[in-house]
Symmetry: C2
Subunit: 506 residues, 2 copies
């Protein structure tokens, strides 16, 4: 790429500081910054980091709640080609210690109030030394920033290099840091921003955690378009309502129960929430906010994950499949176990390609190689392309079941059984079969006052999926063991005789 074509996050801030110098960029409690003020602080912070030897590829770990300081830290690292990892502060000391060691940051910025206890414990456990700066209280962070010079000496940064790192799904028990580039954040902002109606007049309330991609993409789309980002450290319905009115917020992440919490907090209509363009909900909620009637407001979802920087497909583009079509800058394939594309209508692993896809995993060359084989990012999620080319999401790929030469994904069988009117929940495992390698076993929870037999469930499957995928055995239980939302397959296997999986030691 020619240098004149290079554009990173720091370039966007630099131009905003000339384009819209006096416009508000951030607000966080009593602290407000215009784009010119943000640029001045980011320059100082980057210079202070540079003085500490921080450079391309170096990491900063953020162990604190949402704050405008996290945002300016990302922008300062962006000037130097560095990477910022906002980590989940809700983790245990041992989990935090793992993240500290795995990320191996030059600098840790942490917060004492509310989250400091486990952080301090995690620091003690971790075998890694770094410069630690507390950003709250007497704020070592502010003193550090003030130590940087105000000289605006820009450095060349390749926009395809990572600038943010987000820990995501555990593989082999260890979370992995997905690396997200400048170009990915900027490109996703250009696609997602217009889809969401984000312009330079947008005022986004960052209330969801910034270690999660769902809030991160709104933060950056609002930034790229030149809007205002308001930060709050934690979910507090009354404080959210107050801020929506005070800052004339136009967007925040509030769906379902979260929206109802706000409606409840504002049931006396103390606050004017009409600036907020939100998905429709209860009549009370709808009467308080401006209901989003745009294509997004009607179909506000799509398939995505951390490694694809959120939405890779958009339901608003239409199609039979609930997840809609791939966004204009995304390529989508459904792959079999050998990495070959399967025909429409067949379930396989969703694979992605395009500028919004993750560069890979921090310090995990093997995992990166495995997930990016042949130039396609394997999502570890199952899906099906419908006849019209749109996407239906099936579920996490999980443990493959082998029946003779055939591969069977538990999630596909589960999705089928879940459609039976009497079924409340289901988990599917493979049990060793001397003749067919494994056979399919369904563990089913029925709805109260509903009945179904083993034969009913098998027959239901026979009519809907390939015959070799239907369960050979069905057992009925009171509950499926879960870890969070995910089925605890290890326990399910243990309790119901699962085993003989491909790759599993005999």
């Amino acid at each position: 790429m020619s240098i004149v074509q290079s554009l990173g996050l720091a370039d966007i801030l630099a131009e905003h500081s000339r384009r819209w110098s006096g416009r508000p960029a951030t607000a966080d409690g009593p602290v407000r910054q215009t784009y010119a003020e943000l640029q001045a602080r980011v320059v100082r912070l980057a210079n202070a980091l540079h003085d500490q030897g921080f450079g391309p590829g170096d990491r900063i770990l953020w162990l604190g709640q949402n704050s405008w300081r996290l945002f300016e830290t990302i922008l300062a690292a962006a000037r130097l080609g560095g990477i910022v990892c906002p980590a989940n502060w809700r983790q245990s000391p041992a989990e935090l210690a793992f993240v500290i060691e795995d990320c191996a940051p030059k600098l840790v910025i942490w917060q004492e109030a509310e989250v400091g206890g486990p952080v301090v414990e995690g620091r003690k456990l971790a075998q890694h030394s770094a410069l630690w700066l507390r950003h709250d209280g007497d704020s070592e962070y502010e003193a550090f920033l003030a130590s940087g010079s105000d000289e605006d000496n820009e450095k060349e940064v390749d926009p395809s290099t990572p600038v943010v790192m987000i820990y995501t799904a555990a593989f082999g028990g260890r979370p992995a840091g997905a690396l997200i580039s400048h170009a990915a954040l900027i490109t996703q902002s250009l696609v997602y921003g217009p889809a969401r109606g984000i312009t330079q007049d947008y005022r986004y309330l960052n209330v969801g955690p910034l270690f999660h991609v769902a809030t991160l993409i709104d933060l950056f789309a609002t930034f790229v378009m030149g809007g205002l980002n308001v930060f709050m450290p934690r979910n507090d319905p009354e404080e959210i309502c107050r801020l929506v009115e005070a800052e004339q917020i136009t967007g925040l992440f509030a769906i379902g129960p979260a929206a109802e919490q706000l409606a409840q907090a504002n049931k006396d209509r103390r606050w004017d929430l009409s600036s907020l363009v939100a998905l429709g909900g209860s009549p009370e909620w709808n009467a308080m906010v401006t209901v989003d009637t745009s294509p997004w407001g009607k179909r506000p979802y799509g398939f995505g994950q951390t490694e694809s920087l959120g939405y890779s497909t958009l339901a608003l583009l239409g199609g039979q499949g609930a997840m809609g079509y791939a966004a204009p800058i995304v390529r989508l394939r459904i792959l079999d176990e050998d990495g070959n594309e399967v025909p429409n209508g067949t379930v396989g692993e969703i694979a992605l390609r395009g500028p919004t896809v993750s560069s890979g995993y921090w310090n995990r060359p093997d995992l990166t190689h495995q997930r990016q084989k042949n130039g396609w990012h394997r999502t570890n999620d199952l899906g099906r392309r419908e006849a019209d080319g749109s996407l239906t999401f099936i579920g996490p790929k999980g443990q493959l079941i082998k029946s003779a030469a055939e591969n069977i994904y538990p999630a596909e069988v589960e999705a089928c059984i879940r459609q039976h009117p009497a079924v409340k929940d289901v988990g599917v495992i493979g049990t060793p079969d001397p003749r067919w390698v494994q056979s399919v076993k369904a563990i089913v929870v029925l709805k109260p006052d509903q009945a179904a037999t083993e034969a009913d469930i098998v027959e239901h499957c026979r009519a809907r999926i390939a015959s070799y995928k239907k369960p050979k055995h069905v057992v009925f239980v009171d509950a499926i063991p879960r870890i969070g939302f995910a089925i605890d397959y290890a326990r399910l296997n243990e309790e119901h005789g699962g085993g003989g999986y491909p790759g599993e030691a005999g």
Copy 2:
């Protein structure tokens, strides 16, 4: 860049052919293609090209009018990392011969009807041998395409490499081929598409010439979003009206006189033009079309050039300066002759940076180096950043005048004099001055029945621009000599004693 992040024009077509296989992609006279059909033809054409040894960096020269075949040629070259140059077919045989030699294509695709005469003459004059394919009549092009296999073997193409080349302003008398990358076309589509309201339902009529960036960006924005591109070979108001109704066209390039031509052709309201979302014009025009009331419809302009793939600033973003603010993915600087940024309010050369900027000029390393010095693309145009950071366009940079140590741009002095109520037209030159190197001389055309003296003009300038920029001499003439729209400075210098310019041999 990781391979999983790579996305070129061929990737977008490949995904469209899965996403929207049955949707119309192109229409041209009786020939229509869905996205799946377009993909199939593009695969064949790319394979035929590959069989001829066409590969990365190789060029195809298109010497014909607008056609769906030009579009599929670009997409086929895109699959192989090649470059297509749609050249101005209105040129003389000698000019065409220069383009053939300079572009040095492996393949020339040409058209006999309407444009063949000068093309055949140009071919005879040119010292360059290539494979020539006629695309009309018995269509050697179609036979060539049919010779390619239908095997869909994708190749790695770096999206930052050029795919289109457009000849632009003559430097030193020779036009230069501006190189435009996949990433530039895709990124500009993501910014310009939403600004123009281009979605998958857009139906664009390509009537302006595709060797010009103005039509090219609409073609590609419509393609990237998944809309329909309709092609017509030449401007024919009645045929345009017929096509707008028949194809339910939503967009075409028709401003001012072009719109009035259409209104005139349709004055009996023979055709229903209501599908067309167009800029407002005369009452008759406004009654025929759907007047665009979007932000774009209200301020449908910005600063741009071929080398920035059209709009780099957008008036719809607001600001005092008529050209508005730089688009979100563009950085803007105003530079002095030494390449230093000048303060707001000062006129200098507009410089740009970002993914939509040209990679440079084909086969002109010196020119590329000169225009991209220090990582900024120098536009050769003058502008001024207003206090609010927005852009005012002054004019082409032209020949620099030197007064003692000061640099004076003729366009800036001309823009000032043009504001005088009595002035109809003006050209400014430098004349040799034994003491100050040069002095400023204004050649002025007054409006009919208006009067102004030399002293009036000098005084007018003294009040508005730096004193050293005001003319020392003013002469009044009947007309300013021009070549096309541009002032013919060579003649102006000759007729009015110009000379002594910096860099000019004594």
